[in-house]
Subunit: 136 residues, 2 copies
């Protein structure tokens, strides 16, 4: 599989993968893939990442049901970042119950710059995951 | 600067930063920032990265003129990826002379899956950079 040889995994055998909503263009999340995760993603058409905390394959949505159906996979010019165009099932990508993981926006305030949460929690994570939590 | 303490730099003192076109929503590139690069970016409103190859601050566009005017900076849920919404000067983010670095798309062909270049070179890199090349 020569296409796989063009993907540059880092010293830990990982590559960052950006998931972008294929309809809205919003960036949903960034996670990591190893070779096996990328092969699963390509073969199944659903995003599979490598959970660094669990050191195991992470089939996105395996607990939450919030799967990502992959429409398109792109590789950047130097081959070390992937970009996935996905359909986000349930409209929630983030383990906090938000649409996107990038909900903290740098804003000026009376106390100087601060990260402000700018997106609502659409579903309580305790309801999404029970007590199990989501892998990172 | 408490906002800076919430940014989780890795063991090398770096964090990946995604640059996204504020108008089209297209993902343009991913580069790395250290603390100084992020502070420069915030202070100047123009994207400054850390060049891993040169081990130096990389003021995006310093050679090419293809600066990125920063409209918005976001941080993801676990604080280890940045997302910049930018105005891409010159309409070229990639050192290959393309609009976006993510121009290689995984496509099926008679020889199986292949990365296919899907975006045109808008300007010859030799003209953009002369013989100096662009830092990575």
């Amino acid at each position: 599989m020569s296409w796989l040889k063009e993907v540059k995994f880092d010293a830990q055998g990982l590559i960052p993968a950006i998931a972008q909503d294929h309809q809205t263009g919003k960036v949903l999340m960034v996670a990591w893939m190893n070779e096996q995760a990328l092969q699963h993603t390509v073969a199944q058409g659903k995003a599979t990442y490598w959970s660094r905390s669990r050191q195991a394959l992470w089939h996105k949505g395996e607990e939450s049901g919030h799967e990502q159906i992959v429409h398109d996979i792109r590789l950047d010019c130097d081959g070390d970042v992937l970009l996935l165009s996905v359909e986000q099932k349930g409209g929630i990508a983030c383990h906090t119950g938000r649409y996107s993981c990038f909900y903290q926006q740098l804003q000026s305030s009376d106390n100087g710059l601060q990260w402000q949460a700018t997106e609502p929690v659409l579903k309580d994570p305790a309801i999404i995951y029970g007590n199990k939590g989501e892998p990172q």
